[in-house]
Amino acid sequence: MTDTADPAGSRNYPLNCWYVIAASDEVGRSLLARHALGQHLLLFRTADGQAVVLDDRCPHRAAPLSMGTLDGDRVVCAYHGFSYAPDGQCVGVPSQRNVPYGAQVRSYPVLDRPPFVWVWPGNPARSRGTEPPDLPPLREPGWAVLGGSLEMAVNYLLLHDNALDRTHFPYVHPHRIHRGYVQDPPPLQIEVTETTVSYRRTFTPAPLTGWQHEATGLDADREYTQRETGTFVSPALHVDEMDIIGPDQVYRGVFIRAYTPVDAARTLIIWRAARNYARDDQSVAGRLREVYEGTMTEDQPLLEAIQATTGGAPDYRVSAAADAAAIRAYQIVEAMLAEEGGRAFNRWHGPRRD
């Protein structure tokens, strides 16, 4: 495939993978343009509610189809009125009787799993029978969910690195953490599979930090055992689970971050945070929104500066023991890239990118 935005060779995200292209409620009966995954994409829903993702480019004179209109389920180009069915097939050219042979807009495999619309930018045949990661807190009862989205001028791997690393918290987010982040060793239990990496740790009991106390209503003067797990689920997704073991229940927060590369130097983050406590409390929701958004925007200037320094792909001189999970994630991505490129004729490792 041709990448419109990425110069050849700079793409470091696999294409044969489900990525979150939009929140389900962003996609409706109007034409939405989205620049992501190295492509200019067009998103909309058919009259019966099916989400559709097409290339946002008329094959005729390259006008963005998103500037056109939706006529029933047909996309009509704003420039010369060429019209396209939801599968991308050209179905009408007003100025002539024949529909030009091969006038087709590329369509992408799409799965709408509210609250996310997932798209498969790679070989469509490889998507068959596969499913995006299942996220029970976003579909089961018993959870309250908040969320949002933002874009950062950062390569998506740097965001995975940041999410898998807990040792920057005392430096970048010092007022958001409990004592365990400083006193306890960093996550040392790392669990891997062919496609995933996760870390987990249980902290020695510590008092809650301010926002935890406010959100849970638990006693500010007591110490509680807390545990956390972070998982690189796929190149498209990182999930954190944070538990406070209360006297009556486990107070669980699940922080889900979908990372969708825009191009080699930008990433769209669509996030959701689910909690199993204070589900109807809007002030708790507001407090938690500030925590999640604040944590990401505290990381942002550092990460964007790192991006400017390294120019994109990971380029590090030294790693620490606490980077073990991130390094494993890089290896998974490298294996996926090598497999897709058909380059790795020597089993599973790709060409050295350093």
Partner: protein, 335 residues
Amino acid sequence: MSSTSPSSGEAPSAAMLTVFSERRSDLLITAREMRAEGVVSLTLADPAGAQLPGWTPGAHIDLLLEDTVRQYSLCGTPGDQHSWRIAVLLDPGGRGGSRRVHETLRVGDQVAVRGPRNHFPLHSVPRYIFIAGGIGITPILPMVAAATEAGADWQLYYGGRSQASMAFLDELAPYGERVTVWPQDTRGLLPLDLVLGTPAPDALVYCCGPEPLLAAAEQRCAAWPAGSLHLERFTARPQPEPAAGGGESFEVVCQRSGLTVTVPPGQSILEALDENGVSVLSSCQEGVCGTCETRVLEGVPDHRDSLLSEEEREANEYMMVCVSRSKSERLVLDL
């Protein structure tokens, strides 16, 4: 609630070691079926119905059976993230793992599983030749499905003792003439001279089966472009020389951590690293699973694993630190 807090801010240094482990889970056996003489398949699922981690054709899992660990290829559908399938051949002369699976595991039982991991991945090319011997069909089964979906051209040559001993013939039947079934009792050994006689530069060969079949495939593919043949072994390659050089000590420099470790005779690199606080992910410790693969920056490894191809050994780029040693006095590793 009363709890104690650590009075000291200092964690003991031993606790600072990173512990890598593969995902371990207890899975429920949801189906058990005899697939051929001596071959049983087990379908595994999360007891709570949770999604299982993804895998790709060629992946395998460890089955943790009390005191033994056995590796089995996943032979279901990679896209199915709610169940995994393995198939196990009863090996009466084996170490007992397969007998345990056949005789004791039943639907409703839970088994401990580690993984999946994949050291036999299917690369995207336009054409494949698949060769399976006996239970070696298991990793090949999802491969032919993937090759079909990708629109690749492929042929499978599937040999076995007898037709009745060959599993999954029913699932291969829809592929028609792409599959050549070759029972030894009526047709003899797989005709590898015919199958691999002429190198095909645009094709990759994937072969899994008993050691003599793998050795024969390696021999026939010697004239093929380097890297054409992909094999999977589940038992260690027979060692031609008796651990020559195992009596020498050598130095291992861990480039990233700046640590230098001396590996004495009789100790593995893995053990020496571990004693010095450098934890490398490892599993089988006999050079067959590839978990401990480590990048070599300088020096010449003495490869003793069963995974790397001849070409990869010569490239000196990676080594398995659980069994391999050093031909040079000093090895610099990317650790």
